[in-house]
Symmetry: C2
Subunit: 115 residues, 2 copies
């Protein structure tokens, strides 16, 4: 409270943090990456793990995460043919940061009245 609020200054977003939230500031993306952090998963297993997501939205998100170079898609010849998803090296590098976010949340949001 002692510090005066800046009104006419040059406060601005950190470009790299803003870049991170271009991707992570969309519902589900962080959770999809978190779930794939443990192992590759088929589409069906992934949908089951990310509670509440629909097929269409999961499909959109996986396309977006693949486009950003964080998730790789593999078609398994079968039979039966199946498609699996796994993190790339870039995606794996996000896992330790997600775990820290989780630690922060459990220590600071546990009792917060989230919408």
């Amino acid at each position: 409270m002692a510090e005066k609020a800046q009104e006419h200054g040059t406060a601005e977003c950190d470009g790299a943090i803003s870049l991170a939230f271009t991707l992570l500031g969309k519902r589900w993306n962080g959770m999809i990456i978190d779930v794939l952090g443990s192992q590759p998963l088929t589409f069906v297993a992934l949908r089951r793990a990310v509670t509440g997501i629909s097929d269409a939205v999961l499909s959109d998100r996986l396309t977006e995460l693949a486009g950003a170079g964080l998730v790789a898609r593999t078609v398994n010849d079968g039979p039966p043919i199946s498609v699996s998803y796994e993190l790339t090296t870039a995606g794996q590098r996000l896992i330790p940061v997600l775990k820290q976010l989780g630690t922060w949340a459990s220590e600071n949001l546990e009792h917060a009245p989230l919408a």
Copy 2:
């Protein structure tokens, strides 16, 4: 690729990471917290710093972040009367994690074709 994709297992989201993204998996919230990490800001300065946000959405997000205990609102008697926003201790504790997210993004997303 060597690891077989799990299809019928028990993969699930980490509850704490999921909790973090209840808040951060919404557009703007991470950027608002990042910008307030440097100093308290008035509503006007905050809107200017978070490029592209509207008054109504910024107002909604600040209410949500205050409800979660991350942002505190102070009315300055003036004249002129103004309202300023600053991070609580819980909010400040998120800043180092956001900086790590930024580092990850600049090292891994710089050239990604983001939507």
